[in-house]
């Protein structure tokens, strides 16, 4: 049965239901057990399974290292890092351990862990609580980077992430936690490594992830009044990326705008753009455009943060430039 619940609740429900189903799943992190997480995402789990929910000291390296070791013994840790920016502290465990275990053990064992982390800007928390860390992870073969935009996607993808035998970095954009949507009460899973066509259209392809999908939807509405039909694609699994869905869409529309929060240089928008140029250059009717954050650290003052983050006006401008090329 479908009900309307928040993105936060959908994640909570996915963990509950997977823990119910598989006793190898446990949660670990700072304040995840008794308090139910800094953002309240793991509430109720410790009450139900006091021996499967673990509060730790501030020790990200130990949290991820322990998770990798436990995974090698067949357990399925769901670790929380709180703010994704803190991943720097355990970067070595993620990059040099988790990402490579499957390869090193020739598939006989792997880091079947989920690392939940809260990404993105918009809450006036400056340098170390606002970054988009996606690209920090997308140059590391062996990792899976998942980034849902709706409660429905969040629940289904987290279930698949927990069941996956790969290390999955599950990114939760802080701007989405209160977003509501229809979610089945029953357990279900959604496929990893598949982009989703969020809206069908013929004239221009907009690629967007997480909170940027809302910009794309808004632009599609506005453009439809001008008779322009937009196709919107959300990669969902940012890495390894489902190229085909994006390539097919751009081959059809001939136009591409990528909306990406986070610095422009070496962001995934760059990868998507070059992939399109490499594979289907001859189909393009206009050069592609990227709408991104500026290449700066994230400042605190509200006006400055807004200026650094992608703005809707920039999306509109990019779309009309591509359309009128």
């Amino acid at each position: 049965m479908n009900r309307t619940i928040t993105f936060a609740k959908a994640i909570n429900e996915a963990i509950h239901q997977e823990m119910d189903r598989d006793e190898k799943v446990f949660i670990i992190g700072e304040d995840v057990a008794k308090m139910g997480g800094d953002f309240g995402i793991t509430s109720g789990i410790w009450k139900k399974w006091p021996h499967r929910a673990f509060d730790t000291a501030l020790s990200e390296s130990a949290i991820i290292g322990l998770s990798c070791g436990a995974a090698l013994c067949g357990l399925r840790p769901v670790a929380e890092l709180m703010f994704a920016d803190f991943i720097g502290v355990c970067y070595d465990q993620i990059v040099n351990n988790a990402a490579k275990l499957c390869y090193m053990f020739e598939g006989k064992a792997s880091a079947q862990i989920v690392v939940r982390a809260v990404t993105g800007g918009g809450i006036r928390c400056a340098y170390h609580h606002s970054q988009c860390i996606e690209p920090w992870l997308m140059n590391i073969p062996g990792l899976v980077v998942v980034a849902p935009a709706t409660p429905y996607e969040a629940k289904g993808l987290l279930v698949s992430a927990i069941r996956s035998n790969n290390p999955v970095i599950f990114l939760e954009h802080k701007g989405l936690y209160n977003k509501k949507g229809d979610v089945p009460e029953e357990l279900y899973d959604l496929p990893l490594y598949e982009s989703k066509v969020v809206r069908k259209g013929n004239d221009i392809t907009l690629v967007a992830a997480m909170s940027m999908v809302d910009f794309a939807l808004r632009a599609a509405e506005d453009l439809s009044k001008e008779g322009v039909s937009c196709e919107i694609i959300n990669p969902l699994t940012l890495f390894p990326l489902d190229k085909e869905t994006i390539i097919n869409s751009v081959a059809k529309t001939g136009r591409l705008v990528i909306i990406q929060e986070g610095p422009k240089f070496m962001g995934y928008a760059a990868e998507i753009g070059s992939m399109v140029y490499e594979d289907i250059f001859e189909y393009l009717k206009a050069p592609m455009k990227r709408v991104t954050s500026l290449d700066t650290p994230m400042p605190f003052s509200p006006g400055l943060e807004d200026y650094v983050m992608p703005q809707y006006a920039d999306v509109k401008k990019a779309c009309s430039e591509v359309m009128s090329f």
């Binding site: 304040d31 803190f86 500026l294 006006g303 400055l304």
Partner: protein, 329 residues
Amino acid sequence: MTITKEHLLKVYQDMVLIRRFEEVVEKYSKNGTIPGFIHLSIGQEAAQAGVIDTLKETDYKFPDHRGHGAIVLSSRPEDRKTIMAEIFGKKTGINGGRGGSMHINDLKVRNMGFNGIQGSTVVTSLGTAFASFYNHTDDVTVVFMGDGTLGEGTCHESMNMAATWKLPLIYVLINNQYAISTKYTESHPQEYLADWAKGYLVPSETIDGNDIEVVIESTQKAIERARKGEGPTLIEMMTYRWQGHFSGDPAAYRPQGELESWKEKCPIKQTKSKLMNIYGISELDLDLIQRKTEDEVEGYLQFSLASPWPSTDDATSWVYSDISVEGRK
């Protein structure tokens, strides 16, 4: 040790200033004027005021995320209003409104700022202590860290290196009982976190962090050792934060009555009664200090409220020391 009446009166004023500063910040955070997360240090004034009181301007100071008090007291009086303006995100803020509550630095008084990644300054502080050693100066470094932060690997790396090289570094471990919701006894095996230094052969002690005389005495000893080249010291200061982890956190994880019992041990109240009962200072005089401080902080507030916002150019400046970064077209 007993400190002089004048000295005690001075640090009393310092504590009253922290308290008032934090009360105003709390009010404007709760009513939504101050953006972002605010970590208040109400209840922990003695630890901050006592430590900063023993330092000279050229000593290196690393406040933590709950460090408004140490930051304000480290600064020159004429700059204090710009610290509040920073917390409001204004252009007149001491860091141009780019850092906010958690990222306030002031190089002229060697406030080296806080890094939002816990445990980071515990290794950066090795570097300033190293510079004193390298340059043959007698400036010491003080790094504030919390009971929870002690879990970070950087703390262990720092202490090992500082002890081996006998660097002039003082670890001020503010044990306010909690790291967000997690009690220190649930995330560390030691009854006294100070014991943790023993493995590195670093002298350490656990003291009453709400008794400012004890804080001053203990810090002075550590500083003396450091200046003489005898290496680091760790001081665990037992205290309590009256507010939740951040302003607005209901702190439901605290057992009933715990806050009230710590309020009884309020560092300002304790000092006040000492000043009155031992030194014979009248309540009237202490009230006057209170009112003068309130006026002072009201000045910071009005300055902050009246100040302009930064301009968008301020977002792109100083990403690099020499080249510029493009803004929006």
